[in-house]
């Protein structure tokens, strides 16, 4: 027997509630100058496959249409909005403000994978040259939209994806270890230190092979066994990796000091007013240069300038969304322990979608979770 997915149908009362939240949020976004766009609910699989973090990807529902094209139900809307902007000829040289409302579809992460649908309304702000101002304007806009939905008792929890990157760049780690830690952070989020603790038990014995020797050995072995390299890989690729293989074992072997610092960083949380000073001390103590304190300080100033009540905003180093594209600010907004909105900065996404990885387009956005909001309003 095939079990029916827990699909969502709304009766008149529930639909009216959802519609009220959507209208209220979209009205605020429109007033702030965000133009309406309507990206398709169904998207070619590629645009998500290539950009989403692993944790999120497992939650995406892929299928084929009658022509054999691989499609998916959109699991989020930021990527389609950026894709749409690029298709419309957006070149990053100007500000582009867009709003949308619609459903996202995700498979439950419990392994059974039932399909769920939920409604969002959000904005994407591309090309804003002052990052702190743009970030603050998005947080302010999200709070204003929530207020329009009747939700004013909110708490903003924010993180800085750049802080983890700075930390990795500044610690004595190999590139291999950095890539691996970044991937694990994306996959495991705030449980990363526990996860590293568990695996540190195994102590590997690394062996280094000189590249020159690896080249000779690879050529000789391919020749002797009459093997042809397939998959477009060259003997040089294989030799490089053989020479480098010891590096992987070392990548698993994190110095005690690094694990200690990660624990310490993940324990950091502070009201936004104190966050910059706190992170400044943290990075100074471990001797790692970081732009985090400056970013947090600029963000705090911009939030105050935007008229946001900052007493309900906290910085928490553990905040990390599994989307895999945030590069700076990440935040979620809670009320009565329910998350009602989320968002962040994704400066690399537009360039990656355009096939130009080095192209940075400043971008920040947020989404309101309308089902959660409709469930809270009387």
């Amino acid at each position: 027997m095939i079990r029916a997915a827990s699909l969502r149908s709304l009766d008149a009362i529930a639909a009216a509630r959802l519609d009220a939240a959507r209208q209220a949020a979209m009205g605020v976004f429109a007033y702030a100058g965000y133009a309406l766009v309507e990206p398709s609910v169904v998207a070619p699989a590629d645009i998500f496959l290539e950009r989403l973090g692993e944790r999120f990807r497992r939650q995406t529902c892929f299928f084929e249409d009658g022509t054999g094209q691989e499609l998916c139900l959109r699991p989020e809307i930021t990527i389609p909005v950026c894709r749409l902007a690029l298709d419309g000829g957006y070149d990053g040289s100007s500000e582009l403000k867009q709003r949308y409302a619609g459903s996202v579809f995700r498979l439950a992460a419990d392994g059974a994978g039932a399909l769920t649908q939920s409604a969002q309304a959000g904005v994407e702000f591309l090309g804003g040259s002052d990052a702190a101002c743009a970030d603050a304007s998005i947080i302010a806009l999200a709070l204003k939209a929530l207020e329009a939905c009747g939700i004013d008792e909110t708490r903003v929890v924010l993180g800085d994806a750049g802080a983890f990157g700075d930390l990795l760049a500044g610690l004595a780690l190999s590139d291999r270890q950095r890539t691996r830690l970044m991937r694990l952070f994306d996959a495991h989020g705030s449980t990363l230190p526990e996860m590293l603790e568990a695996e540190s038990a195994e102590a590997p014995a690394p062996r280094r092979v000189d590249l020159g020797r690896a080249r000779i050995e690879v050529e000789a072995e391919l020749d002797a066994r009459k093997l042809t390299l397939t998959g477009g890989r060259s003997p040089e690729d294989v030799a490089l990796r053989i020479a480098d293989r010891a590096g992987r074992e070392q990548a698993r072997h994190l110095p005690e000091e690094v694990r200690r610092v990660l624990w310490k960083m993940f324990g950091r949380a502070a009201p936004i007013a104190d966050a910059a000073a706190k992170m400044e001390v943290f990075f100074r103590d471990i001797g790692v240069p970081s732009g985090t304190a400056d970013r947090l300080s600029a963000l705090h100033t911009a939030l105050v300038a935007a008229g946001v009540d900052t007493s309900q905003i906290v910085y928490d180093a553990q905040v990390h969304a599994p989307l895999g594209y945030y590069t700076g600010l990440e935040f979620r907004i809670e009320t009565a322990r329910v998350t009602v909105a989320g968002g962040g900065r994704y400066d690399a996404l537009v360039g990656e979608l355009a096939g130009r990885p080095a192209w940075r387009v400043p971008a920040v956005g947020c989404a309101l979770f309308l089902d959660a909001i409709a469930g809270l309003t009387p």
């Binding site: 027997m1 095939i2 079990r3 496959l49 290539e50 973090g53 692993e54 990807r57 497992r58 059974a112 994978g113 890539t179 991937r183 694990l184 996959a187 690879v218 072995e221 391919l222 066994r225 093997l227 042809t228 390299l229 397939t230 998959g231 477009g232 890989r233 690729d237 294989v238 030799a239 990796r241 053989i242 293989r245 992987r248």
Partner: protein, 263 residues
């Protein structure tokens, strides 16, 4: 009392082994009429026997078309998207509300494995594969391509190993030829002796064995078919399990199923 339905493989070694097993269990089937895919068990009136392909048995037992079936765990797990080890002595529910695997039957062995070209001298384990996927992305600006017909199991297994950047190329026949022909870089496929892999210059990764599979006796999932329990089905389940010395499994599985009947 309603009639019971058992489905068994319609061709090849699986069919022969299955017929031999039924005979050993004391319930030999009557030879089906020419071109007929249905027959009976003379010693067990009230039970219909369908002869269909193992893949179709997996599909249809999940759908609830039969009480009892014999099929491979590989196709059953792929149908349900369930990644798990083989538990010889444990009655296993395949998927939530799914069919119940009563016991392995000792024939039709196969391993589902991850295999790469032997020429990839730098690739011995799944960790290597993840790095090669990164390398192919960086150097050739494309994802690693994996040929398989086990799409869901491949996705689940690769996710376990945190490999995200790859693309599945659906391959329903001669999958092992895919790397040489250029259709894909590597494969996930069933192998019995490993000889075909070797002939195609492929090697199995150290930690790339997804699971071992064999022909398995399966009871269908809860559904309209279980309004009442056809007596012949319980008897047949017990006899087949006894013939492979797994009487305990039959008792456990039947208890699970009668729980469903009661509910």
């Amino acid at each position: 009392m309603s009639e019971g339905i058992i489905a068994i493989p319609s061709k090849g070694r699986l069919k022969d082994e299955c017929l031999a097993l039924l005979a050993r269990a004391g319930f030999a089937i009557a030879a089906p009429a020419e071109r007929s895919y249905e027959t009976t068990i003379p010693a067990l009136p009230g039970v219909r026997v369908l002869l269909i392909s193992a893949g179709e048995i997996a599909e249809r037992i999940v759908r609830g078309d039969f009480h009892l079936g014999v099929t491979g765990m590989d196709v059953l797990r792929e149908r349900q998207g369930v990644l798990a080890g083989v538990h010889r002595n444990i009655v296993e529910m395949v998927g939530e509300d799914g069919p119940v695997a009563v016991c392995p039957l000792g024939f039709g062995p196969a391993r589902l494995v991850t295999a790469v070209p032997e020429s990839w001298l730098d690739c011995a384990a799944m960790d290597d594969l993840r790095e090669i996927a990164d390398e192919i992305r960086a150097r050739q600006h494309r994802p690693l391509r994996v040929a398989t017909k086990y799409v869901r199991l491949t996705r689940a297994f690769f996710a376990q190993h945190l490999i995200a950047d790859y693309r599945i190329v659906l391959s329903t026949g001669a999958t092992e030829a895919a790397p040489a022909s250029g259709l894909a870089d590597m494969i996930v496929d069933i192998t019995t002796s490993g000889a075909t892999l070797k002939d195609n210059a492929l090697k199995v990764l150290e930690d790339g064995k997804i699971f071992a599979s064999e022909a398995t006796l399966v009871l269908g999932p809860p559904g309209p078919l279980w309004q009442d329990m056809p007596g012949g089905i319980a008897q047949l389940t017990r006899a087949i399990a006894a013939a492979v010395h797994r009487e305990g499994n039959a008792a456990g599985a039947l208890a699970m199923v009668s729980g469903r009947v009661a509910a």
